[in-house]
């Protein structure tokens, strides 16, 4: 098992584009000075980030560090203000309604819990973007949907309803739906959460396959350190709404920053909590 993971990792290391190679590529995501608050509570602080073409960027961080909030900004579910977000070279804040719709056709998103439409079969789910956003014939849509289901190892399961799927199948189905329009950029929220190691490792392979075969740039939000090492070109670590580090895997792994190491090795930081403060919190005021 360890051996296998190691070799898989080694293979990916070999495939991994070099630092210079990546730096020379076009930016598909640019985030400039993004702040965000929920009411009085600020959850994102001056986020600056870029993702390059064909790159796999893994965003990590503890629970509540703002990963999902950042992702929701990136995919246009939250306004990119104040600050600026460019996707595929387009400034999201400055687009007309029509241009924004056009941009959304070129990105794919797989949500943490799948967000499959529970009233439609898996293949209807995958076909939905085609049905609603293109003028393709039914037969063509079927072919395209089946192709994507096959890529995600779901051929033969298209007729099932989402409620009949296992956790891993659900994630793969939502990835199939995310890639059905052949996007240049996909976002995956916690693809491996709630899955056993074998299934989540298969999912990592799928993500690598997508990048290599379809030349897609991938942004993955993840808690899973092993998986991040395996698939990432670069890792960004969020901590309390701030970017702690955003660098190549080796650099992050060997970072001298204590907080980075704590997060990677899942060491708790309880020592930082003042005992009286803790008691006060327990007492509830």
């Amino acid at each position: 098992m360890t051996n296998q993971t190691l070799t898989a990792e080694a293979v990916n290391q070999a495939n991994r584009p070099s630092a210079e190679d990546i730096a020379a590529r076009r930016k598909v995501i640019e985030v400039d000075h993004l702040d965000w608050s929920f009411g009085p509570r600020q959850v994102l602080f001056d986020i600056n980030l870029d993702v390059r073409e064909g790159e796999i960027m893994v965003i990590m961080g503890g629970s509540g560090s703002g990963k999902t909030t950042l992702l929701r900004h990136l995919v246009g579910l939250m306004p990119p203000l104040p600050g600026k977000i460019k996707l595929l070279g387009k400034d999201m804040g400055a687009l007309s309604r029509m241009q924004l719709l056009d941009l959304k056709r070129r990105i794919g998103v797989a949500f943490q819990f799948g967000a499959l439409f529970s009233s439609m079969s898996v293949s209807e789910n995958v076909k939905l973007p085609l049905r609603e956003l293109t003028d393709l014939e039914e037969r063509t849509m079927d072919i395209m949907a089946n192709m994507k289901l096959e890529v995600c190892n779901l051929s033969g399961f298209g007729h099932l309803m989402p409620s009949d799927l296992s956790g891993g199948m659900m994630k793969r189905a939502s990835i199939a739906r995310a890639i059905v329009m052949d996007p240049k950029l996909i976002f995956l929220d916690e693809p491996s959460s709630g899955l056993d190691p074998v299934v989540s490792s298969a999912l990592d392979d799928l993500i690598l396959k997508l990048r290599d075969a379809m030349d897609i740039s991938v942004v993955v939000v993840s808690h899973d350190v092993e998986s991040a090492y395996k698939i990432a070109d670069r890792i960004t670590i969020l901590d309390k709404g701030q970017i702690l580090i955003s660098d190549r895997v080796d650099a992050v792994r060997n970072s001298a920053n204590e907080r980075v190491q704590n997060l990677l090795h899942r060491r708790s930081e309880q020592a930082e909590i003042d005992p009286t403060e803790y008691l006060r919190r327990l007492a509830g005021d």
Binding site: L101, D102, F111, Q112, A115, S118
Partner: protein
């Protein structure tokens, strides 16, 4: 709790929240109309199939229960009219009261209440479940406008089906009442119908159908707004579903009164 200032503050906050909701409802209403008219420009027309499916669900599938209710209401009105007019020996004028109150009041109101309970709740529950499952977010990131995809078909279907149901209820109620009245008074059924048609003006029919349409809009918007405001899990779905039925019925009754007042001034 008993602090009066607190109570006023609560009332104030509730009022502001209520106005907020009305603004939100108006925004959704205009957006739904916008997409119905201009969707094709974004290559996202409101789907005819989805609209038909909603019309079947909200209108056609409600026919059996609508018929039963309308017939019962017709009979109830006939019995009451004969009794109360009988006190003055004026039974033979029963048809006037029956015709006018069925067409102007009872059909739209009863159909409104029926559809609020039957479809308003279904709309709220569906939307709430979809929000919780992030299905609405999924639509949004795909570039499929959720208002166009989810709200417009529902709104169109209710606006079209509510007057149809009210018209159907008119027919059924008047027939049911007619059968009872003509049997009780030993009068011919044909004569009863003739009298009824005589007394009804097109204005009365339009009044009723207009209200039914308005109620359709209320049911659709209240269902949609409540569904999209859901918080929490399955429990939240139950809450907004109940809330949407209570609010729709209240608004229907109030709107009915205002409508009656304004059109009789």
């Amino acid at each position: 709790m008993a602090n009066p200032a607190k109570i006023f503050e609560t009332i104030g906050r509730r009022t502001v929240a209520g106005l907020d909701e009305m603004g939100y409802a108006a925004a959704i209403f205009f957006e739904a109309i916008y997409w119905t008219l201009a969707g094709w420009r974004y290559r996202q027309p409101v789907r005819v199939t989805a609209t038909f499916a909603a019309m079947m669900q909200f209108g056609v599938a409600a026919l059996p229960i609508a018929t039963l209710l309308a017939a019962t209401i017709g009979l109830m009105l006939a019995i009451q009219s004969l009794y109360s007019l009988g006190l003055f020996g004026a039974e033979h004028y029963a048809y006037i009261g029956i015709a006018l109150s069925v067409v102007r009041e009872f059909s739209p109101m009863i159909m409104g209440i029926l559809i609020a309970g039957r479809s308003g709740s279904a709309i709220a529950a569906k939307l709430a479940t979809m929000s919780i499952n992030q299905e609405v977010d999924a639509l949004q990131v795909m570039g499929i406008n959720p208002v166009r995809f989810l709200v417009s078909p529902v709104l169109i279907a209710l606006v079209l089906m509510m007057p149809c149901l009210a018209m159907w209820a008119n027919l059924v109620s008047i027939l049911a009442a007619g059968l009872y009245v003509s049997a009780e008074l030993n009068q011919s059924f044909g004569a009863y119908l003739n009298d009824t048609i005589e007394v009804l003006k097109t204005g009365d029919v339009w009044h009723g159908l207009g209200k039914a349409t308005l109620f359709g809009i209320i049911i659709a918007l209240v269902g949609v707004i409540n569904g999209s405001m859901v918080q929490g899990g399955a429990e939240g779905v139950g809450k907004v579903t109940t809330r949407s039925v209570v609010i729709s019925i209240t608004l229907i009754v109030v709107a009915d009164m205002i409508f009656a007042y304004m059109t009789t001034q």
